[in-house]
Assembly symmetry: C2
């Protein structure tokens, strides 16, 4: 159950606070959190200094545990680029879709991705950059020497990021418009749907390039 080796009180408080911060944002009150956690309001200041540091540590642990739970498989250079992209996307989509009982991790992170607190922006950027650079690299391979360019890689990367984020950002919108998109219920199907559409476009670009 426990992923880190913190004191039980700290871990419990992080979990409860994470859930509440995720649903109500940083304006959730310490009394609400401590009430749910079954402890006195002094506990937060005792263990974390103040409320903001608790919030930051919630985001931090969300980052760490997510990567820990859905590690990126080794991507060996020999494998074909379309396969690498597929594995990469499945991992990322799984992270974003998350597990039901840990869904606050992603909700909280998404909150910060959409409107980052100044203290957290850098942390998140450092967290995402390696994955993004790997994606950029994979797209380069997929495009091949002829088509590889900053513009093309960015175009595809933007599409991928958009559809990954939409898993979360579109949740309420789908509900409002009553679009029960079954493909978005299964991480694998959703990832494959993104992958297929990207591969299709790359193939079309290659055909067009060869025709000239």
């Amino acid at each position: 159950m426990s992923v880190s080796n913190e004191k039980p009180a700290v871990e419990h408080l992080l979990h409860v606070a994470g859930e509440i911060f995720a649903s109500k944002g940083a304006s959730a009150t310490v009394r609400e959190i401590c009430g749910e956690a079954g402890c006195s309001v002094a506990a937060i200041n005792y263990y974390f200094g103040d409320k903001q540091q608790l919030y930051i540590r919630c985001v931090q642990t969300a980052c760490e545990q997510k990567q820990q739970l859905f590690p990126l498989p080794k991507l060996e250079d020999g494998l074909p680029p379309d396969h690498l992209i597929r594995v990469f996307l499945r991992t990322m989509v799984s992270r974003i879709a998350g597990q039901a009982n840990l869904s606050w991790h992603n909700t909280l992170m998404m909150r910060e991705v959409l409107a980052p607190s100044p203290e957290i922006a850098k942390m998140l950027a450092n967290n995402f950059r390696p994955d993004f650079e790997l994606l950029d690299q994979l797209l380069g391979k997929l495009l091949g020497a002829k088509l590889d360019s900053d513009v093309n890689r960015r175009m595809l990367a933007t599409q991928i990021l958009a559809r990954c984020m939409f898993l979360r950002t579109g949740k309420q919108l789908r509900q409002m418009l009553q679009i029960n998109c079954e493909v978005s219920e299964s991480p694998e199907l959703y990832a494959d749907s993104i992958c297929d559409s990207i591969l299709l476009q790359v193939r079309a670009m290659q055909m067009e390039a060869n025709a000239c």
Copy 2:
């Protein structure tokens, strides 16, 4: 300048409050708003009843003014479906990209699309449904009788919604990862990029269907 015919004080308060609500969320304080607007804190309760009704009216005016500024052109049935989709997408992307001086409209609406207040969810749903149903209809035409199906239409609609929303939801992420995607700076280019990718996929689906 003024789009509605409200009392000047009301209009000014709506504009100032909209900007602040957009940047800080509903937790922005009445003192902050009235300080910026240069009036007493009693003004809000005098004109709007309470703070929440002010918030709701901000979202409401954001909806109205956005549609007013970027109306959907008449889409005549005779025109080819790919042209209709393109016009539709350009309008929608323009709305989301918005004008620089009215950017709070979209930020505020996006806030509510991502995490709607219970009182506002219905209003937004009613606001978006006609546009979404039109999109659904256009996608049906684009797919043609052979390929038209709920699954296919939803798949394409999801892609489109994802990339439209990403204009806003990806803003901070692009900044964090330092992706200065020039195509996302011009609404027309961005809309066309979405359109091209959709058309490409539909053509590929048609080819595949014909091959069988």
